[in-house]
Every structure is written in C-alpha cells, then in structure tokens.
Symmetry: C2
Subunit: 329 residues, 2 copies
C-alpha cells in the first residue's frame, strides 16, 4: 500500500490552481498562483515550485510525505518526455522541460497531462463519471477538447494525441472551416464558436424574423449564450440552430460510443452550462446513431466538477501511475 | 518468465482451425476439426476438447506443458464470463458456457474473444500491425467487423462491446438500411453487401451505360467483385460507386484515427483483396478527414495473415493475459 499525499496542479492562462490532496481525493489544502506570462513564460514553473516549497514548510511537510506531483497543462503535452510545446496562452511557443524542473526541485515522481485529459480523469473519478472505468469527456468551450478513460487509464495512442474529438469530421460536405484547416470538424460547428458559425451560415438564407438577426445588427456580435437563450424562449431559427448543433454533437458521441463502449459520455466546458436543455437533445440524437446494444448502456451526462475537475484529475493521474509502478515492482 | 506452449483455436462455421504454438508465435503443429452443427451445436465443444486431448497424447505432452488455451468464436462473446450467445452459424442461439467446459476438461487457463477481436490481435502482433502497440483492424466481409488494440491490449469497453466499427454512422441522412435497424451504418454502405447496396441505390437514377446494369439484368445479382472489377476496367459508374465506398470507409477510418491515434489501421476481410486499388483510395479520403498531427502518423495498410490471423490472435491473447497475471502476482 502506498502512503503519502499528492500535490495537484491545474495550470491555466490566468492562474494555476494547486491542491494538497489525500489518496481518497479529499482536498486538504487549496491555493492558487497567478500565472506570470512575462519573459516568454519562463517564471511560470519557478513560481509554482517556489509556492509548493513554501506550502510544504507551512504545513510542516517534507517531500518524503508526498507520493507525487500531477500537473495539467494547456498546449501540446508529451506525457512521456514530460514536456509542453505550443501553449500560447502561457507564452510557451518553444518546448518546455517541465518534468526536469520539477524532478530536480523535489526529487519525487512528477506526471503531466494536457488539460482536457486531466479534466476527463477528474470527472471520471469524482464527478459525472461515477468512478466507472470507461468514460469519455467532451469539453465544449471556445474549441472542443476530449479525454478518454479506458479501463481506468487515460488513452494516449501511438504518439500521445488520442482524443482529438473536436476534429472528428461530423459533416464531410460542410463549407464551415475549422482552425485546423479542415472543414466540418465537430469544433467548427459544435463549440461556443461553432454554434455561432452555424447561426451565421444559416442566417444568410433565412428570410423570417429571428431575435438573432436583431442582436447581430445591434451588437455586431453573436454569442453561444444568445443562441441558447433565444432557443429556450422559442425563437424558431435559434431552435433550428440548436437542433443542428445537438445533432452534430450526438453524431460524434455515437462514434465514441460505438467505438469505445464507455458507460458514460460527459459533456463539460462552458457550453455544457446549457444543462438538461442541451443534454436531452444530444442524448436523443446520439441514441439514434448508436448500435442497439450500446444504446442501452451509454449515458450522456453533464459534468459536475466545473473548474475543480483539473485538480481531481491531476491527483488521480499520480495515483494511477504509482499503482502501475507498484504492481510492476 | 512463463514457460509452456499455447493452444490456439479459431472456431468457424465450417471448421475450427487449431494450432500448437510457442511463445514467439511459431506454429509447431496445425490441424483442423470439422464443425458439426447438429443437435444445436452441442457437440462442437466436446469435439474440440477430444481433438486437443488426442493431439496432446500424440505429441507426448500433458497439460503441464501448456500455458493456456485461446479461442476466437463467432457470435456475441462475453470474455469475462467466457460464454457465447447468438452464434447462429454454429447453431448456438442460447448461451454456451465454453469456459467452464474447457476449464473442467484441462484445468489450465482458458481465454475467449470474438473472432473480429482475435483477428485484430493476430494482425497487430504478426501481420500488418508490425507489432505496434496501438492498432485498429477493420474487417470488410459480408458485414464490417472491428477490433481495437490499445497499448498492446484488446479494448473491450464497459460491457465488452467496444469496436462496433461496422455500425458507425457514416451517412446520417442515408436511406440505406442496416441489418441493425439503423440507416447509413458503415456496414450498410462499405461491406461486400454495402457496396452492392450503394450500386443498386445509385443505378436507379443513372441513365448512362454501365456494365453493372448488364450484369444485373443477365444474372439478376451483383457482387462486390463485379463492382471492383468494373471500376478497375474503367467503368465510370462503378468508379463512382467505389469512390463513394472508399470515402465512407475513409471517413470511418478518420474517426478511429482522431479518437484512438493508432499507428496503423489494418483493412482485412474478403473485400480487402481489392488490395492497393482500395487501400490508396481509403488512404486519400481518410487523410482528408484526419487532424493534421494525426494524419502524418497514421498508416492505412492491408491485412497480411488472411485466415491465419485468428490463430495468431488466439495465441497472443493467452500471452497477454498470462503476463498480466504474472505482473500482479
């Protein structure tokens, strides 16, 4: 049996959330560190290390009391090399050797995953995933992120880029362009940005009244919240757009279910705040496209942990890796 | 280090292929047993057990020389309970307790998987998968089967039904019905049956000359081979159908790549005998739909082992399970 506490870090563009946690996932202490992006983000990691050292002193702990450190990061994370590249919201355009810095500072096990993966593990363990072993999370924000947990472990794939759920092509004939250069990606039609893309695309040929036309004329900008609010109050065009959006999301969810057979598909991120209104539509469309035996065993659920998902996930990643190493030794 | 040989069984509707293999996957002895489906298939398993006992005697081996037995079966396989149900080509409509029968007869470890999974493991290990750890196989026969290997292990999902690749909806607006009750499944448009479905669907509105019309009129039936042969000899309509078929298959392959990030997607089954003509088309379409970083690291390849894939896969499943148990003990 392993002993020791876990230090969990969820690194974001504005601040990093940190927590001292026990092995059951209880948060013993929670604090945050402002993300100082100056000087190409070169003080971000030293600041985190400094803050953790202070906290250990405050709590009268040494590194011997700590089982390991887990970190969720934006950007393109190499979990094996423990490096990050292309995290532009941290001003990290070049490769950052995060693992080396933490291991030199503390001499204890350190693990890193991208933020979508970390959030998926958090929800799987302590949130809407119900601690089931096979859970997929789809994070609907400005883009669409994904994290896949298979048999209790994160799925990484051959080069660590598994779970590019936002770039599943849900409409091969779409003219709507994605930031990745393709067309008809889930992210291009079913993120906060994507639903606006859809609305603007269809507004061009819509001759009837809709509150979305008025908003666009008066404010020169349309948000996903405008569209969901209009749909909820019965605006026919907004309803049409939300149905399109939900059908695309349902189609992608069905691909995940038919392929991976998870017990739960968790919808998270800002757009998921549309709640049951959104969930019930995605559920209906996804079930239409699922294989019968899979349809009956797949639940579409809304995320529960909000911004804390990353902390829980960072903790669980340490526990998973440590128990694997224990079983090998 | 484990010792002992492996008995591999690939059970089919006409015969079962059996092999005595070493741990490197060399076939030491290969034989077959006719599948006697009389009496609701109740003599199939006793016949296999009897044949194995005879073979052990012939080779002067006892069960102590055997590490384990692996079996691939048609139908709906529960790999945890080691049971099979709904294997209609064996006349097994009710649940068969295969694991119990083998374990009682031999008292050594026994493992069972469905035939698509077993073939996928075989190709991953000794065939077109190059022994890479993350490989997906898509078997294009009368239907479309699938098997997913993640980090060297079969992916089962929460209820053991992962890999229903044939029932990924590749055309949500299709009118072509699938045997599963849905419409626009990969299997309904991109199996041996599916490509005929496509041809007949589009023939209805095709006014020009095509050799497929002549074949259909003279023989009253059209096969996937007719369509591929016509396309290869430049028949414009057949080319159009093969392009449609390949685009659907490419789309499904892109979903698998974007989700799972395998190094290789192996195309197997009878239809894959179209070879490079098919592979190059599926490759082109799938790359169009893959996320850029995934596009560069995913190879679409044709299966290499033919009917032997099952034997190799059955052997590897025993090795995988035994090495897991060894690492736990």
């Amino acid at each position: 049996m392993m002993s020791g506490q876990i230090i969990a870090i969820d690194l974001g563009g504005t601040s990093a959330k940190l927590a001292m946690m026990d092995q059951e996932g209880n948060i013993l202490e929670k604090w945050s560190v402002v993300t100082d992006k100056s000087n190409k983000g070169q003080v971000i990691v030293p600041n985190l290390i400094h803050s953790i050292k202070e906290k250990l002193e405050d709590l009268n702990l040494t590194t011997e009391d700590i089982l390991g450190i887990g970190l969720g990061s934006p950007g393109s994370v190499n979990y094996l090399e423990k490096t990050v590249i292309g995290a532009y919201n941290l001003n990290w355009s070049e490769k950052q050797d995060i693992g080396k810095a933490f291991e030199e500072a503390f001499g204890i096990p350190f693990y890193i995953e991208n933020d979508a993966n970390i959030a998926a593990v958090g929800e799987q363990w302590k949130g809407a995933g119900n601690n089931d072993k096979d859970v997929v999370m789809v994070t609907l924000g400005t883009g669409v992120g994904g994290g896949i947990v298979v048999d209790g472990e994160l799925l990484h794939g051959s080069t660590g880029t598994a779970g590019e759920i936002g770039h599943i092509t849900v409409d091969p004939d779409s003219v709507i362009e994605c930031t990745c250069g393709k067309r008809g990606c889930l992210e291009a039609v079913a993120s906060a940005t994507g639903i606006v893309n859809l609305a603007i695309h269809y507004l061009g040929t819509y001759d009837e009244e809709t509150v979305l036309k008025d908003i666009l004329q008066s404010e020169d900008v349309l948000t996903s919240k405008d569209i969901f609010d209009a749909a909820k109050s019965g605006d026919a065009f907004a309803e049409f757009v939300v149905e399109k959006f939900s059908r695309y999301l349902g189609l992608a969810a069905s691909h995940l279910a038919n392929t991976l057979n998870p017990s739960r598909i968790v919808l998270g991120g800002g757009v998921s705040q549309a709640g049951e209104f959104l969930r019930s539509k995605v559920d209906r469309y996804s079930k239409e496209f699922m294989f019968p035996t899979i349809r009956d065993v797949t639940d579409i659920v809304i995320a529960q942990l909000g911004n804390d998902a990353g902390i829980y996930g960072a903790c669980k990643v340490v526990l998973n890796e440590q128990s694997k190493e224990e079983s090998v030794n």
